[in-house]
Symmetry: C2
Subunit: 487 residues, 2 copies
Amino acid sequence: MTRAQDYSQWYNDLIIKGDLADYSAVRGCMVIKPYGYALWENMQQTLDKMFKDTGHQNAYFPLFVPKSLFEAEEKNAEGFAKECAIVTHYRLKTDPNNKGKLMVDPEAKLEEELIVRPTSEAIIWNTYKTWIQSYRDLPILVNQWANVVRWEMRTRLFLRTAEFLWQEGHTAHATKEEAIEETKMILDLYADFAENWMAMPVIKGVKTPNERFAGAEDTYCIEALMQDGKALQAGTSHFLGQNFAKAFDVKFSDKSNQLDYVWATSWGVSTRLIGGLVMTHSDDQGLVLPPKIAPLQVVIVPIYKGEEQKALIDVKVKEFMQSFKAAGIRVKYDDSDNQRPGWKFAEYELKGVPVRIAIGARDLENNQVEIARRDTKEKSSVSMDGLTNTVSALLEAIQTNLFERAKQYRDEHITKADTWDEFVQILDTKAGFVSAHWDGSAESEDKIKELTKATIRCIPLNNTQEAGKCILTGNPSTQRVLFARAY
Amino acid sequence: MTRAQDYSQWYNDLIIKGDLADYSAVRGCMVIKPYGYALWENMQQTLDKMFKDTGHQNAYFPLFVPKSLFEAEEKNAEGFAKECAIVTHYRLKTDPNNKGKLMVDPEAKLEEELIVRPTSEAIIWNTYKTWIQSYRDLPILVNQWANVVRWEMRTRLFLRTAEFLWQEGHTAHATKEEAIEETKMILDLYADFAENWMAMPVIKGVKTPNERFAGAEDTYCIEALMQDGKALQAGTSHFLGQNFAKAFDVKFSDKSNQLDYVWATSWGVSTRLIGGLVMTHSDDQGLVLPPKIAPLQVVIVPIYKGEEQKALIDVKVKEFMQSFKAAGIRVKYDDSDNQRPGWKFAEYELKGVPVRIAIGARDLENNQVEIARRDTKEKSSVSMDGLTNTVSALLEAIQTNLFERAKQYRDEHITKADTWDEFVQILDTKAGFVSAHWDGSAESEDKIKELTKATIRCIPLNNTQEAGKCILTGNPSTQRVLFARAY
């Protein structure tokens, strides 16, 4: 299946064939396979270091939220109520009518139902209440790596699953300004990670009230563009104002001993990023992974006839492997003898390994190897002398190229529309982001969504202010916003 | 509260005061605070590297287990049925009789209930079924870091919580021998980690059938001894035979194209280890953490009058900090001015920081610092010259001392009993492990437990074979086993 034939099917197939994930027996939940999980670990480690370098610490809060806490912040509760997995019982018993089977024990009904966390503001702010008395206890800069559950009706591997893995930061501050600063700092951190590690260009912006996180005063986001012209919300950072502090009665005494509610932020990225990564770079031959986060950066494949040639190649490869590893390159020597080189080439292309090195008997004679880069599929013969430096430089070049290529595509797919017809035509033919005026009303936004399935992805930060007319209503507008159909 | 007054209360207080964890609003679930989580991260990273160095990869499987899968392996299901959190609904709705409140939507009842995983054999073996066809697909060496839920009636911070964090390894093999070898290799790995990182001596052994993991053919364990003479099961490694392969119909074709069921192991350690760590080393002044996994290894406290002295100390400390960090020492300079040195000393003692360095104006003149070690509370003045080496060596000495001290206590608390009176008296007065003959019957084991609350912790590996008489029945026995009261 190619991207041109059916982008959606291509994506699903690739996730499975590329060994990233698998369907499971649980509706909407997936199994993250070792190769996919290794990718997630690389992403996780990078982000974790970025969080710690900016003063955050990890902690862990309960999986379950008692219903009475869940409903305390009303907007948040309302936003998630329709997609909650709910624990009602705590025991199974033998089914008397069904030998060897179990049934829920009706006598083990919980007094209060527990919600499997769809997000953790409620349980965390209920805890912060006991941690915060004075300004000296602030700020609290905490992050959690966790699984969350949102009972989505339509699921897709990585992009939208009932259970997913994420990190959720939850910070508490003495002032509004400090909380907003944190929200924006994290947005920059996410954009840095997306662009400089995932090689996925993003637009930083703020959501309209319609698209805000339930319970937030402002939701900042990074928006990426997939190869089919659909947008993907890749990360969000919320300024929560004093909403959760009020819902959970979290006050602190400031330096002059005045009591005030605490200011909050929360922010998260999830395994959804892996979906975005796949849809940003991969091609009809398989995955294309950016070197910085690829589980495997280089694979070496020997090409030989007979054990004698193999032994000579082995000696040389052993040298390279040592040198590569010393340089921090993640490398594998695939000398398994149950598959032919051509099969291996296709396999590592499918897996998106950035650099493939082939070494044959003649290469040994000529003091060279054949290098193939995954992004452009170019092959070249290069000298064995200084191979580690050559490969390091190539990995950097691939990382840069992936970003530039994706950025060029993205930039070419931000199109201005000044009439409704233009707007609709761009969405239906070219796709991508459409930059258009909007009158700022929720009604217009809803109507546009209803008519075109396009949503306002964001109001870009530092947006140009210009007078114009709303694409739908013709009402006056002060700036363009970015519309797109989205995942 | 001291250990002598009330060991149990001392433990609970210390977990809270030492900032490791907090109670939560969810029955039996705890909040792991940043300091406790940093400790867990250090343990996790070490174990993770050990797993990867022995060929394992991480993956992630769903949180939920459909009831029909859960009950497939009958013994396993029976073992966990009574302590399962069960998801029955997937939506909340507005409560019409209770403004601002939510209720479970009766129309959103799941067709099949979902069990929140108490352990993942069922969901994983149902997945392995699709991954394994031939011997070429074996072995599968997978580990998962995850949260699990067991609805325990009596819970204690870290030691027994309804939700806990753990790793669970699940491997699949072509032969029985290979699976048993894996089980034992992991047991050795756990013992290595417990002794050489946590400084917690353990006895490696095998469980009696009574104490086996539900669904296992054999359960190997490491057993530690706490300061109050009670044992703690610190990790288990299970040889599962073909039980799960049969329950989930997982067969493979071997080299001669014969079909056979796959052989399995599973193994895990959890946040319970933190409870064991605390109860092995800590004292009445607070936590005592082994340097290798302590979040903070060294704290430096300045002692000064006036800004001028402070500035001189700062310059010197800055040098030390650089040198310490370059040597990989986790160090903090606490020059906060809102607490006096004495308060800080007590605080870092409470937190179990292995080494404290104090520097005053006179120390500067004398080119020395005062070093206090947490394990023995000894203080000494040492030269500033070569301080990094001095501290590195001291951290190693503390690590060794903690292990030796705990090992001496443990060894002194393995007592032979040859009569029932002796047996009971040792349990009631000296406590610890009691090494005694047992006739090998489940009935005797149950009876002993009923009479004394002591269980057979394990049959030590490479146990001495000697003829004797069962401590309870007088029936012939071929070896002593280790009894203890346990957490």
